[in-house]
């Protein structure tokens, strides 16, 4: 049907195809019925996440239709040494899906943007002693690389590999946090090199690549990128590296001493990283708690996790020891390296004991 102007467009029609227009079998069947929700009603997160990655152990009748050259197909459970009676029982306590991802991260970048604007306007950097500016350009700067390497080559790599959509999405979001935080630090560094006279915006690269204090951390990060077992990668990064090295540096050093050195800005950036980690730790704990409590595989998983802890604890402790000299660099030293390390170890022990894991004897060497 042509309109007077000759334009043609579809004509809406009243169809009454609305819920409740008629009653017939299944006319009220308005829940996804192929999985059992954790609570009475499925959450939005469960609805948009469960079973999107199919599983031959559940509904996938024809199996995976593409294989790798070695015969592996889809998402093999053998890609980790961990075992589970039901991998699908893991749900991300952060319930990440697209809306939470963007709300959360957009909130963080907005917050950081405001803080930096204010700092710039208030001339907050002008009171920094030169030695503190040096500390920030070198050491706070170097940290961006650790975050980036973990994001790109540990977490984003691992989200291809776990047997369920719930695990892979949680790991993917973890990777996104790391990359965002790395960029936050990089762009902060850029800001400083424009606002602080004499601030060397390229010093972070040299520090990371060749300063002896940073070589242990870099080695730890690079070695984490070589881990093929996704479970080991997540454990070694989130349950070993993060409490022993990440929090040690971010929380138990930078956030403690910055204010004493006249710097109120850096802690707000570091705080964003800590906030990310608190979310990422939440899913990590939920995942390992499930695996360690697994009726059939719990003990074997504890052994596997124990081996991993024994392998990675010394690596991270070595990184920390090499980092020690930077504790004496800022003009205002509020706390000693040993104090910081004690806190980090305490935190690490707490994480392990919550999970019922034995403390690796390597911790006391």
């Amino acid at each position: 049907m042509a309109t007077p102007t000759g334009r043609s467009f579809p004509h809406p029609e009243l169809t009454d195809a609305e819920a409740g227009a008629l009653t017939f079998p299944s006319s009220n069947s308005r829940t996804f019925n192929y999985f059992k929700p954790r609570k009475l009603r499925a959450s939005m997160y469960e609805d948009v996440t469960m079973d999107v990655q199919p599983d031959p152990g559940r509904h996938l009748t024809q199996g995976w239709i593409y294989g790798f050259a070695n015969g592996e197909r889809g998402y093999p459970v053998e890609w980790t040494a961990l075992r589970s009676g039901d991998w699908h029982a893991f749900l991300d306590p952060n319930e990440e899906w697209e809306q939470t991802i963007y709300r959360n991260n957009a909130g963080v970048v907005r917050q950081i943007g405001l803080n930096l604007d204010n700092a710039r306007r208030a001339g907050a950097y002008q009171t920094w002693p030169r030695s503190w500016a040096l500390f920030v350009e070198q050491h706070v700067g170097a940290w961006m690389h650790a975050e980036h390497g973990l994001g790109m080559h540990v977490f984003i790599a691992a989200q291809r590999s776990a047997p369920t959509n719930m695990i892979n999405n949680a790991v993917a979001v973890n990777g996104a946090h790391k990359l965002r935080f790395a960029q936050d630090l990089a762009l902060y560094n850029l800001d400083l090199s424009e606002a602080v006279p004499g601030f060397d915006g390229s010093a972070h690269r040299g520090a990371w690549q060749s300063e002896p204090v940073w070589q242990g951390v870099r080695e730890n990060v690079e070695r984490l990128t070589t881990v093929e077992d996704w479970g080991e990668a997540v454990l070694a990064a989130n349950l070993v590296f993060e409490p022993l090295v990440g929090e040690l540096f971010r929380s138990h050093l930078v956030m403690q001493i910055a204010a004493r050195n006249g710097d109120y800005t850096t802690p707000t950036i570091m705080g964003a990283g800590e906030y990310d980690y608190s979310r990422d730790l939440r899913y990590t704990r939920a995942l390992f708690a499930m695996l360690l409590k697994d009726e059939k595989h719990g003990r074997a998983n504890a052994e596997v996790a124990g081996e991993w802890l024994a392998r990675w604890t010394p690596v991270s402790l070595a990184a920390v020891r090499r980092l020690q000299p930077i504790w004496s660099q800022p003009p205002e030293r509020v706390l000693s390296f040993e104090d910081s390390l004690d806190r980090a170890k305490e935190r690490f022990r707490g994480l392990l004991s919550d999970l019922g894991l034995d403390e690796p004897k390597e911790l006391e060497r």
């Binding site: 043609s8 579809p10 195809a17 609305e18 819920a19 017939f24 079998p25 299944s26 006319s27 069947s29 308005r30 829940t31 996804f32 019925n33 192929y34 939005m44 948009v48 999107v52 199919p54 509904h59 024809q62 995976w64 239709i65 593409y66 294989g67 790798f68 050259a69 015969g71 197909r73 889809g74 899906w97 697209e98 991802i101 963007y102 991260n105 957009a106 970048v109 961006m144 690389h145 980036h148 994001g151 080559h153 984003i156 790599a157 989200q159 291809r160 999405n169 979001v173 990777g175 996104a176 960029q183 936050d184 990089a186 762009l187 850029l190 915006g201 080695e219 690079e222 990128t225 070589t226």
Partner: protein, 544 residues
């Protein structure tokens, strides 16, 4: 942010990566491609500081539209004919989306270029977005559309329906096998660059014409991320082209990926657009017309052909043959007819075609009625239970087809069917290229060169084999395609919900035995097989 500071910011981000000296990242996913001498080509840049708020804003618009649609009683205007096909479409598409996210580290591991890594990492987040936002759209349909059956079983049905398996290639193809074949050629160079146009642009306009303006809102929002993905893939392609040894692999992979995408996406989207619509205005473009514009002109002529200047061999013959299948061989119509033949094992309802549809088809595809018209008349005649069986079990002059081993769409262009004994089994293929895909491409050597990273075609590729010799009622029960009264089927060959007597139940389909054409083919003697194949190819399969 000013342009200058944006440039500086991009520059700063490039400082994040470094050359490792203690250890290099694990190579989880192998490729036979080499990038040793590749000059670095960079994709479109995106800084996360602006990315997250930008996407959040896009999301807010989508969620606003969803609220508006519900408040505005959109479902009083949606066409059931259209919405029913969404049960299939939206069961499939979140998996390809999430698979694209999972594919990103495969490409990151294969291509030594930190700038591309950044682009791919952002794409990973986009794809998580796409998958979950589409699941949410489906959830909304389930909650507000008159017939939620089929939406309610969505991801299970995706995993056990023959149609879901066809769709699953567009997803599994991104994440398995040679990392570059999968995550670059199949996913980006072909699926995203060519076929997202039909998926995310043509589909939405058809949805709107059928009273559904939410699908357009969601899918246009999804599509707006796609140019960055296409740019990632193009950068990788340019890097790959720098090494002579990659040419042969690129040529192989473009042939495979092009043909498989055509076979799968055109089957599905073609059917949704041509048979799922009530919009029969004469000047509404047919799928063939849209294909000519989006795929042939925009992709083939404007994207693929210019790559020839880099010495890349373009599959001209396969582009022309895909068009030939769509335009001259009735590919989409044959697929739609097959879906409708198989209605009892679907999990959605399929509306029959009426006189208005016939007229439109004949106008758009001259000769349509002669081939398909009487079959659809029979479909309508047999749509209610009581005095007849489902159409697949009535003699309407339609022979149930063999399935293509490679693309898993049946061999519907019967004269083109190839049969061959491969890996000790008689297999049928819809086309020579699908035969080549299985027999030649997905193998550890290719044209004499070792291809140790190439993937394999695996799985129970013929769906019918799982149920060979079963009673149809038992199959449907096993699949779970039964409504909450325990007897009425989810699928129906009509849209009549007003009278329960018009709805098929398990009792109406009991006593019908279902067979696997491939099993029967393998049981034949060589002479029987030859005669059967010749008759199959010669059968025009037209309802008298």
């Amino acid at each position: 942010m000013s342009r200058q500071s944006l440039t500086k910011a991009h520059q700063k981000i490039t400082e994040l990566s470094w050359e490792p000296t203690f250890a290099t990242p694990a190579t989880r996913f192998a490729t036979d491609y080499t990038f040793e001498q590749a000059p670095k080509k960079d994709p479109l840049k995106q800084i996360l500081r602006s990315y997250f708020p930008m996407e959040e804003e896009k999301d807010n618009r989508v969620f606003g539209a969803m609220d508006g649609a519900i408040r505005g009683n959109m479902f009083r205007q949606v066409q059931q004919r259209w919405m029913e096909w969404q049960k299939l479409f939206l069961s499939i598409i979140p998996f390809p989306e999430i698979s694209a996210a999972r594919a990103m580290p495969m490409a990151i591991g294969a291509v030594p270029n930190p700038q591309i890594h950044n682009g791919l990492a952002v794409q990973m987040i986009d794809e998580v977005r796409h998958s979950t936002i589409q699941m949410n759209l489906k959830r909304l349909y389930m909650n507000h559309y008159i017939d939620p059956a089929g939406f309610d079983i969505s991801e299970k049905a995706f995993a056990n329906c023959y149609a879901g398996t066809i769709g699953r290639q567009f997803g599994e193809g991104f994440i398995t096998g040679d990392a570059i074949t999968a995550a670059n050629v199949y996913l980006t160079l072909v699926a995203e660059t060519a076929f997202t146009n039909t998926l995310f642009v043509a589909m939405p306009s058809e949805a709107a014409a059928n009273g559904d303006y939410l699908l357009p809102t969601v899918f246009h929002s999804v599509q707006s991320d796609e140019s960055r993905h296409i740019s990632n893939g193009y950068s990788i392609l340019l890097m790959a082209l720098a090494d002579e040894r990659n040419r042969q692999l690129l040529e192989r992979d473009l042939r495979y990926a092009w043909w498989n995408n055509h076979a799968v996406v055109d089957a599905a989207i073609g059917t949704f657009i041509e048979y799922g619509t009530k919009d029969r205005r004469r000047d509404r473009d047919s799928y063939a017309e849209m294909w000519r514009r989006w795929i042939y002109d925009d992709y083939y002529r404007s994207y693929l052909i210019p790559l020839e200047k880099y010495g890349l061999v373009i599959p001209h013959d396969l582009v022309e043959e895909a068009w030939n299948r769509i335009w001259n061989k009735g590919y989409v119509h044959r697929v739609a007819q097959f879906f409708a033949t198989g209605w009892p094992v679907n999990f959605w309802r399929i509306d029959g075609m009426t006189d208005a549809d016939f007229e439109w088809f004949e106008d758009k595809y001259p000769g349509w009625y002669e081939q398909f018209g009487r079959w659809w008349e029979a479909y309508n005649r047999l749509r209610h239970p009581g005095s007849n069986k489902p159409i697949a079990f009535e003699d309407v002059g339609y022979e149930y087809p063999h399935r293509c081993w490679s693309c898993m769409v049946p061999c519907l262009i019967r004269e083109d069917m190839v049969a061959d004994e491969v890996d000790g089994q008689w297999r049928t293929y819809c086309s020579q290229t699908c035969h080549w895909t299985d027999k030649t491409a997905f193998r550890p050597t290719y044209e004499g060169r070792p291809t140790p990273s190439m993937g394999r075609l695996t799985g129970e590729r013929e769906w019918e084999k799982l149920y060979h010799g079963w009673d149809l009622a038992d199959i449907i029960k096993e699949l779970g395609y039964v409504r909450d009264d325990g007897r009425t089927l989810v699928p129906q060959p009509h849209l009549d919900l007003d009278d329960p007597r018009k709805l098929w139940t398990l009792d109406d389909v009991r006593g019908l035995t279902f067979n696997s054409p491939n099993t029967l083919l393998n049981e034949m003697t060589p002479e029987q097989r030859e005669a059967h194949l010749a008759a199959y190819r010669a059968n025009r399969n037209v309802t008298a």
